[in-house]
Amino acid sequence: MDQQFIPRGLQRTSFERFLVWVLPWVLMLGIGLYAIYQCLADGLYHTNMDNRFAFGLWIYLDLTVIALGAGAFFTGFLLYILRRDELKAVINSAVVLGLICYSGAVAVLMVDVGQPLRAWFTFWHPNTHSMLTEVTFCLTCYLTVLVIEYLPVILKNRKLRQIPRFLVFEFELHKVMPVFAGVGTFLSFFHQGSLGGLYGVLVGRPFAFREVLGIWPSTFYLFILSAAAAGPSFVLVTTWLVQKISRKRLVQPGVFTYLGKVSGSMLMVYVLLKAVDTLYWINHTAPLEGAAAYAFYTSQSFGSWILFTEIVLLGLVPAVVLLTKRLREIPAVLVSAAFLTCCGIMLNRFVMTIQTLALPTLPFDLLMSYFPSWQEVATFLAVVAYGVILYSLSFRYMTLFPQERDIRQ
């Protein structure tokens, strides 16, 4: 019944089956929206955050999805600035993923803050020393860029493109896309970094504090690198997942290996620098702040295994795999390594957010515990559901993978 809206030459499931697929996600989104309503209407006591554990699941979610959403800027950078044309095959999908991640993060942030209606204050009297100011400015600008980048994908829908004004605007917009790719890269550089700087500047938290290199703490640079590593891997994993779910081939295999190679190189650089940073922190920064670094890893919940997992198992290992041509060319290995890469970045964001907050700072304090309330989890899942719904709609009605039609033939 909606055949008219599905791009020509593509096979999509029947409308009824599509509804059946979307319905559970809509339900999940509905529950999340109710939880969000509770938090906005009554106050944040519906969460399990408290004065000691002032950041929780939501901030973790923001950091993670923004790192994973980095695929949009990095793919755009490689395609439009470095002219890696093979990435045309996934750029639309990467843009949609980026848009989902960033809009989801901003939405959750608006629930997370106690007075969302005052969000504009940051623009009106910004504290330019705050990393959060940088994040706020860049996030809003970049979200605008992502919407502009998503616009051509929508305008190229089979029905919409019949309106000459839309098609011509899309055509002209496409011509200036490198400008947006450049702006996106510039903005991403700053806000990905600032998200890392967010923790690196916490002089009161010896576990997170890092010394300044130039004008930013080292976590600033590490977050940029890790996001650039996670982005392409996330695009790879999602593309693979969409191929599995839709039972269609969407891109040429070469695209996968190329994404893997890019992700692997970034990850390798990141892991090496992260190792150096960690060693310097253990031996210099932390002791200077009066903290013995080993003490951070003596609890049962956060043993040194977490550091090993983050840097070696989910860092060095996938990096080596992705950089080994023979291994990279085995699809299962490639996808697993990309998945591990994403997990490694997610673990890093978890450590930076949750472990930082759990570790006590006062000498007489004990390890803090925190477990999210159902409202927090539901909000988290609502973002996932929103992402799945928006992506499904885009996949059904827009051309996310230009190669799909050619592969079919």
């Binding site: 005052r118 959060l132 500047v201 916490l202 007489f364």
Partner: protein, 249 residues
């Protein structure tokens, strides 16, 4: 941050832990003075608001070596690289250049809680609930202090209401500035053991300046380099050592 170092006055405190009995009078006086709403029924020690909190600390030894102190902990008024000031995205935390007091402007606060994450002393509190006063108790509200709304952070500001009142009095007398210290914060005033001394650390002749330099006076987490303006005093060596220890995880 830099302004603090240049400011003429540096308001600070010295808390004598050896005198503190842990009675909690200061906590109550603080809450009444600063219009902290009665705790919501579901509030826990981690969601309730107490600008000043008294922590019991023991030396961990068995009897007879067992010993304990009470540590009243409020905003430590960091004077250098004040952790909460630089992180706030919209200048809702500011250091008063004339007093060195780290002030919170709740009307400007977005409620992002980044400052709370930044504070190593856990001296910042968030309004998880709408503040509510049971019928009739609004009459006790302090007219000099604005109550806060839900969703913002708040903390000790060395009784800003009293500072303002002192300034108003001085202005009425035709003075352009107040002689420091022209007021006493509620906690210091209420302490039956007189364990809290408040004053201008920059004024060499003041009690607080003298006590802050006294033997056995120390600060918590001094290695972080944030230069708190709240000092503690104890003759007990384990207490002084404890102040800079890495917390046992």
């Amino acid at each position: 941050m830099e302004q603090t170092e240049q400011s003429k006055s540096r308001y600070g405190m010295v808390v004598d832990l050896d005198k503190c009995t842990g009675c909690g009078d200061c906590v109550v006086a603080c809450a009444i003075e600063n219009n902290v709403a009665p705790a919501e029924q579901k509030a826990t020690e981690r969601t309730g608001i107490t600008w000043l909190r008294v922590y019991p600390v023991t030396n961990g030894e068995a009897f007879p070596a067992h010993d304990a102190v009470f540590v009243p902990m409020m905003c430590q008024q960091c004077g250098h690289h004040t952790p909460c000031v630089s992180v706030c995205p919209q200048n809702a935390v500011e250091v008063d250049p004339t007093t060195g007091i780290v002030g919170q402007i709740p009307q400007r606060c977005l409620g992002c809680r980044y400052c709370m994450t930044a504070c190593p002393f856990h001296a910042r509190y968030f309004n998880w609930w709408d503040p509510e006063w049971p019928a009739g108790t609004e009459a006790q509200l302090n007219p000099d202090v604005a109550p806060r709304m839900r969703g913002v952070a708040e903390k000790c500001n060395f009784c800003h209401g009293r500072l303002h009142a002192a300034r108003t009095r001085a202005a009425a007398e035709g003075k352009s500035n107040i002689a420091s210290p022209a007021y006493t914060p509620a906690c210091a005033e209420s302490c039956p053991a007189q364990a809290i001394v408040f004053g201008d650390l920059a004024d060499e002749s003041s009690d607080v300046a003298r006590l802050s330099k006294a033997h056995d006076t120390f600060r918590f987490l001094s290695k972080l380099g944030t230069e708190p303006k709240v000092y503690y005093h104890s003759a007990k060596e384990w207490v002084r050592k404890m102040a800079d220890q890495s917390p046992a995880v």
